[in-house]
Amino acid sequence: MTECPECEATIEPKPMIPGEIFSCADCGAELEVTTTEPFEVQTAPKEAEDWGE
């Protein structure tokens, strides 16, 4: 169990692999799975208008 870094909603572990993206059910923020053991997430990086250049 972890929490959304944007709104602190409780997030149950999901059958996903590191790097997968999903939306927080409460605030809709895009979250990226960073590790599965333990299950942890971070706010998914947003591509800027310059595509990261």
Partner: protein, 341 residues
């Protein structure tokens, strides 16, 4: 149980009939209307065709009941309350006559001296989210005004948490035409109403009094009529005592409403429906609440949406009854709304 609806031919009365006809604990239902006495209910409320063969009874034919819902204009409940209390074990009044605890606010906001001020102390303000425990023993429940219900649900958690300056709160509402009731008037004529975005009450709207009573804030309220039949959107601007983050706002609102069956927090990062809007709430008993921190202005914006005939009136009244009787609070109120609509 036996239920009666007095003032059943109006829009709120019709919504009460729609809900109570399908409520699993209602064994018999009486529809009372002076204006439509003798008429079949479905002739006035055509959505109820094939749902009921009831006809409206005149007020003098009111029968004893377990619960009486009163949906009559402001000023008409107070003189009749003693009669209703003798007829029903519980009265849920959807007008304004028992909303304010202080009798001296009635002349200021409603233009009449309250004829039964001794009854005000026994009435419970009918928002289960604020007064659930008191509903069970209340002989009289006073249903909130529709715009007041939205504003109070948006503001009360912020006020309780002490994060806003209670002396400077601005409430800006938009509402649909059904909030004006079923009685025709010049402002409601199609030629006047269609396409309108009308600031019909820049200051001093009567719902101000109950918002102040329930939140403890001093409220500056402005009200607009917009191109919709149902719906209220209340945008509340509150100035913070100290900087507040969105995470803190999430904590405050979750603490208030995480366990509430009819309040939903809507503050999403993406998608079409990122903040509350009334359109998808038509026919439901939900109140959707959103918020945003505005550090530039030292402000919190709290916004609430509901159906003025649902959570703003009839649906909320049925929820109060459910809570008062110890029924599951969602009984008869499970409709999730329509999308698209």
């Amino acid at each position: 149980m036996k239920a009666a609806v007095v003032g059943a031919s109006g829009y709120v009365g019709g919504e009460l009939l729609r809900l109570l006809l399908r409520h699993p604990r209602v064994e018999s239902l009486q529809a009372v209307s002076a204006r439509a006495a003798g008429e079949p209910v479905a002739r006035v409320h055509p959505n109820l065709r094939k749902s009921t063969a009831l006809a409206f009874d005149p007020p003098e034919a009111l029968r004893p009941s377990d619960v009486l819902f009163a949906a009559v204009p402001h000023g008409e409940s107070a003189p009749r309350m003693a009669e209703w209390m003798a007829s029903a074990r519980r009265v849920i009044d959807l007008g304004a006559d028992f909303r304010l605890r202080a009798a001296d606010r009635y002349p200021e906001y409603y233009g009449f001296e309250h004829p039964r001020p001794e009854l005000l102390a026994g009435a419970v303000y009918g928002l289960p989210e604020l007064h659930r425990a008191a509903l069970a023993s209340a002989p009289v429940v006073a249903g909130p005004g529709c715009m007041a219900a939205a504003s109070i649900l948006a503001l009360a958690p912020l006020a309780r948490a002490g994060v806003i300056d209670p002396e400077h709160v601005v409430v800006d509402t938009k509402t649909g035409s059904s909030a004006s009731g079923a009685e025709p008037g010049p402002a409601g004529a199609h030629a006047e109403r269609s396409g309108a975005m009308r600031l019909y009450s820049p200051a001093g709207h009567r719902h101000t009094a109950e918002i102040e009573q329930e939140t403890g804030c001093r409220v500056a309220m402005s009200c607009h009529g917009v191109e919709a039949v149902r719906g209220v959107l209340a945008t509340c601007h509150a100035y913070v005592r100290a900087p507040v983050t969105e995470k803190e706002l999430w904590r405050i609102y979750r603490a208030a409403y995480a366990d509430e069956p009819f309040v939903r927090l809507v503050h999403e990062a993406s998608g079409v429906h990122r903040v509350p809007e009334p359109k998808i709430l038509s026919g439901t008993n939900y109140c959707d609440i959103g918020f945003a921190a505005d550090p530039h202005a030292g402000r919190v914006v709290a916004v609430a949406a509901l159906d003025n005939l649902g959570k703003g009136a009839a649906g909320n009244a049925v929820q109060c009854w459910n809570a008062a009787e110890g029924f599951p609070e969602t009984l008869g109120l499970e409709f999730p709304g329509l999308h698209p609509i």
